[in-house]
């Protein structure tokens, strides 16, 4: 079982490494979106400090959503997705592997670059640490939820726009608690409550989402 998981993760990572530009695109999208806000609302540091948690999280949401198209679409196009579905290993396991790879490629870089952007917004140090932790808990959840949407829209025309309509409302709790954690610690309050809920949601997502994704994939491929 672990072998299957490892195989799927390595395969997807290898594919991603062959197309490094795609990975960089997601990352730069995040950076650009975050840099657009000061240009839009003005350079007042006080205002930016208040808005920073929300901006960073919305940026992460959008960046993670943009990269969802790659999760299944290419495998569907070249037929390997069908082989994965036909394989004797449980499909939910394959899905977990693909989600892990997706997170490593599109979520983890966001987490790593976020402190730099947080500095641009002049967030205090404790808030930056919280931001790192919250993104670390939240971005895998984004990949898990997004996988359901990606599986539902495999091979559907206009899938790219449709996926945002399906997935963004489901991202709302992640946004609220993720931005809430950073907000709380920027105001000098304890953020552990928010982080605990994010962790709980992540566990719930890890149990339910691969299963729902597998069901959606079977429907999309029949």
């Amino acid at each position: 079982m672990m072998q299957t998981l490892r195989y799927v993760v390595f395969r997807d990572l290898l594919l991603a490494m062959r197309r490094r530009a795609d990975v960089a695109t997601t990352l730069f999208f995040f950076v650009i979106v975050a840099s657009l806000f000061p240009l839009g609302v003005g350079p007042d540091p006080k205002l930016l400090r208040v808005m920073a948690p929300g901006i960073l999280w919305v940026g992460a949401l959008l960046a993670s959503m943009l990269s969802l198209g790659r999760l299944f679409a290419e495998d569907y196009a070249d037929g390997s997705l069908e082989q994965l579905v036909l394989a004797p290993e449980p499909l939910a396991l394959v899905v977990i592997g693909k989600v892990v790879a997706h997170w490593l490629v599109s979520g983890l870089p966001l987490v790593l670059i976020s402190p730099v952007i947080a500095l641009q917004f002049d967030l205090p140090r404790e808030a930056i640490v919280t931001l790192l932790l919250a993104l670390l808990l939240g971005t895998p959840l984004l990949s898990l939820i997004g996988a359901i949407g990606a599986a539902l829209t495999v091979g559907v025309r206009g899938g790219g726009v449709l996926i945002s309509l399906l997935v963004l409302p489901l991202y709302v709790p992640v946004l609220i608690f993720g931005a809430g954690a950073v907000d709380a610690s920027a105001m000098g309050m304890d953020a552990s409550g928010h982080l605990s809920i994010l962790g709980a949601l992540l566990l719930l997502g890890m149990v339910l989402a691969p299963w729902a994704t597998a069901a959606a994939l079977r429907i999309s491929l029949e």
Binding site: I148, L162, L165, G180, I219
Partner: protein, 245 residues
């Protein structure tokens, strides 16, 4: 006596049944609406705090109730369609979705109309308003996904999965929005009604809620009949209906 639960699970038997039921539900909806509107405009007293503008709750509250309830019923039908693989269950789910979205929209719109004179703002980021708005997005997602897939059976099943995922998420979204709201701003506006509501007000609201129920059932049945006709075009029994389509 053995009950055959699945007798009406087939479009062939359900189509005429729905046709027979629609006039009754529509009639009940019409009578209850007239009664409810009479109660709400002529019998219910004027609210001493909000004046006449409070009367919008007679449509607002039933619409909000229906919007949430229809989502759950829709997800229930969608689940039945997935589990039992019955065509009609999925058709019911897709027939309910537009009505649910309509009620969500009515709830939001009337809420805005009520909010302007009462709170002085068309929109506040209150927990209930926000979660109702997200509910509208969920309905839109369901409808959009169903419309995007050409094969109706596949569309049924894909949107059923989405509806079920949504049902798991609705409570999470509701509570997260609620906590978010209480964390961000104090209770500057409170949606809670005055604790002592006049009995006639409550009665008017309940009658209107029943009217909305009857309307929803009638509308969903009428829509499901259209869906049946559309999807079973080639079926022999439709040719034998002899009805002008």
């Amino acid at each position: 006596m053995k009950l055959n639960w699945f007798k009406y699970a087939s479009p062939v038997t359900f189509y005429p049944l729905a046709g027979k039921l629609i006039p009754w539900f529509a009639l009940a909806a019409a009578i209850l609406t007239v009664a409810g509107l009479y109660l709400s405009f002529f019998v219910a007293p004027t609210d001493f705090q909000q004046g006449e503008s409070y009367r919008i709750i007679f449509i607002h509250v039933p619409a909000a109730w229906m919007s949430m309830f229809i989502y759950i019923v829709m997800a229930g039908w969608a689940a039945a369609g997935l589990i039992f693989n019955t065509r009609l269950s999925s058709m019911m789910a897709s027939a309910l979705a537009p009505t649910g979205a309509l009620f969500t929209f009515i709830a939001l719109w009337t809420g805005a109309l009520w909010g302007k004179p009462t709170w002085g703002a068309w929109w506040v980021w209150d927990a209930r308003l926000t979660s109702e708005l997200i509910l509208l997005f969920l309905y839109m997602g369901f409808l959009a996904l169903h419309a995007a897939i050409d094969d109706p059976r596949r569309a049924d099943r894909a949107s059923a999965v989405l509806a079920l995922v949504g049902v798991v998420n609705v409570p999470i979204i509701y509570f997260s929005v609620k906590w978010w709201n209480t964390l961000h701003q104090g209770a500057s506006v409170s949606m809670t009604m005055a604790p002592k509501m006049a009995a006639t007000m409550l009665l008017g609201m309940l009658v209107m809620a029943l009217a909305c129920w009857m309307y929803s059932i009638a509308a969903a049945l009428a829509r499901v009949r259209c869906i049946i006709l559309e999807r079973e075009q080639q079926a022999e029994w439709i040719a034998n209906l002899g009805e002008p389509i």
